[in-house]
Symmetry: C2
Subunit: 406 residues, 2 copies
């Protein structure tokens, strides 16, 4: 008998039919003898609809009130799931984040978990019930309702799995696992049986949308076994685990991210402190800088390029321009039409040819590299957004990912 | 400076435009120097939609889960109201029923208030804010979410007004006050300036839908001044108060109720204990019996007639039929096509001609009276549903309610 925390995303509980399917699945798990704790997101696009309503009444809604509003979504989902379970004769109880013992800081709309006091969930399990917990919710020490942010249900599930010492945390979503690349772009993409936390984290940072990076970090830190799988096919998906069961693969996946823009501050004097000052100003304004590349100096001046999310471009441009005198910079340019293409694999640590093969493959296909950034297990190249799908396909082929079995 | 508890019903907060209108009204009250506490129902028809969703996943949803589901509705309304207030520069905070200190019994879907611990609301007021409280919500002593039932927001408002010792409790609704009769039926109907609690309670019991009877009872018991008024015209409405400021009127209003059916148990032996046994069986099954009339005995047998809500007719019929041997009854008939027409007024206590005028007026217009029931300040006649509007109109005219000024 295993204790499983099962998290169901918005599309998995989008309507009464989907909710009944989830309830059927839980009933089958129970019949097999497993103990189950459910974590649910808001139904379908409900969170978006609530955000739209907030935008209708306020230009800049207060975080405390946003959290009160948004948490209505998961509340509906957990109540309906619990009703559907009762309908199948499965005894269950729904719990808000607060009732489930999620104590957070007071950073509304993006709160951090401070403590998980899972006594009520444990008592519910011990009474033979299926606790159904609202994802992404908590309560601050001032007794205000808090929201953990988009994707926060994954974090709720992982944190509960840790608090309950569960055997696994299953993240049910609308994809059937983690793939070597986006199967919509490369039909030969393969679903992996397993992947290491380090690789999963690099993939998330490189733009892979699911699971949420924060939940992977939490699972990694607390050694929670993650299983990313489908609530539509119910087939086994991808395990994310501490120890990779196979020998580290050279490259596991190719990930593209077109949510960022490139900014270049041109003609910056090549002297100490300029970059520090630039990125301090950006950080102070909460601009989320990703890649940073500084070119080699020519005649004592250099260019500094960096990427930021699309919705922060104008803010970042403003900061660069208002400080360009201070930097002695020649000008600032931005380019929204870029894509960051990354290859990721723990095996590249001991194989120096990985980056070279990436550069060569892109060059052979006439795809120009605008920026390069590397970590121990990742190489990222910024390319023209129009060439991104092609870059992903040729790299997927070059590393022979279609014929590997992870 | 007055402290006002203002309750806004579903149609008053149905969409972002309505919510902004309510926020504007509150801002004006504050500018006049009043302190305001808001209580809000769920937006528009949201509670009905949530009930429909529950019906989609379960034939017989558990009360605990219904309450978790339904309370999502007011949560959205209070968060959006608070945002709209902030947008106008009015500092405010939303509170769930639990956060507002509403402790209830565990009778889910129709919980009763046990205690109101309004410390947080008081602190919010003292900090110069407008607390916005979710109507009809509470928390049980077992820390489960509870719902006070439909119309429960009125009760929340009255209970808060009592707990805060407010100067008045304003119930904003989609009608502009309490009328001498339904103005859709009788165009000459007049809005009353004031009405006594006793009369308002009789009107509610006679079928007047707003305000909810329970909230009037609560206000009466705790001496909370009620003001029933419109959130669409914002004009002054009807005060419900302990002491009627004018001399008690003979008749104040005519109310029709077509939500009940008549059951008649025929040929019952006229001996002690039969009626007691019949109504004990009905009460044990939670059948909500309203009027009861027993005809004069003829040849030692009599008929017992009573009214029940439409949705309890088949249940009541079943009980009567299954016990008809025990009663020695001749048979049971039911009639859904009835309407209960009542005239109400505290002045009738000292004026014996009121009932006679009612019977005469109905007789003059050829409207047959099927049942009669009276209290100290009310006379009710059951008539054919097809004649109910006509009955209301002729009675309204007979008591000259169109030309009185209450």
């Amino acid at each position: 008998m295993a204790l499983l925390v099962q998290k169901f995303g918005g599309s998995s509980v989008a309507d009464p039919d989907r909710i009944r399917e989830v309830a059927n699945h839980v009933a089958r798990c129970r019949n097999r003898g497993d103990q189950v704790v459910l974590v649910a997101s808001a139904m379908g696009k409900e969170t978006d609809e609530l955000l739209r309503l907030a935008g209708d009444v306020s230009g800049d809604p207060l975080g405390r009130e946003m959290d009160m509003l948004i948490t209505a979504g998961e509340r509906k989902a957990i109540a309906l799931l619990s009703m559907a379970l009762h309908e199948l004769g499965v005894d269950s109880e729904s719990f808000t984040g607060s009732q489930a013992g999620f104590v957070t800081n007071a950073n509304h709309t993006n709160a951090r978990i401070v403590d998980v006091r899972a006594d009520r969930i444990l008592a519910s399990l011990n009474a033979g019930r299926v606790p159904v917990v609202a994802g992404a919710q908590g309560v601050s020490q001032e007794a205000n309702v808090t929201f953990l942010g988009r994707g926060g249900s994954d974090t709720t599930a992982v944190a509960l799995a840790k608090a309950l010492d569960a055997d696994a945390c299953e993240l049910y979503t609308d994809v059937s696992g983690v793939f070597t690349t986006d199967p919509r772009v490369v039909p030969e993409a393969r679903r992996m049986h397993s992947i290491s936390f380090d690789e999963m984290l690099e993939m998330a940072a490189a733009g892979c949308p699911k699971p949420a990076m924060r939940s992977v970090e939490y699972a990694h830190r607390h050694n929670v076994r993650l299983h990313v799988r489908s609530a539509f096919t119910w087939e086994p998906g991808t395990w994310v685990t501490e120890e990779d069961p196979v020998e580290a693969a050279l490259i596991r996946s190719v990930v593209a991210d077109d949510t960022e823009a490139k900014l270049t501050v041109q003609g910056v004097p090549d002297k100490p402190g300029i970059a520090a000052s630039l990125f301090r100003h950006l950080a102070d304004a909460d601009v989320n800088v990703d890649l940073i590349v500084q070119n080699v100096s020519t005649d004592g001046v250099t260019d500094i390029s960096f990427t930021v999310p699309h919705d922060q471009v104008s803010q970042a441009l403003g900061i660069c321009e208002s400080h360009s005198d201070e930097f002695g910079a020649g000008g600032v340019r931005s380019d929204n039409r870029i894509s960051k293409v990354s290859v990721i694999g723990a095996g590249m640590k001991s194989n120096p040819g990985v980056a070279a093969l990436m550069f060569q493959t892109l060059a052979d296909n006439g795809i120009n590299i605008e920026m390069i950034s590397t970590s121990a297990i990742r190489v990222s190249c910024v390319v023209d957004q129009d060439r991104a799908d092609e870059a992903v396909a040729v790299l997927h082929a070059a590393y022979e990912l279609e014929s590997t079995d992870f």
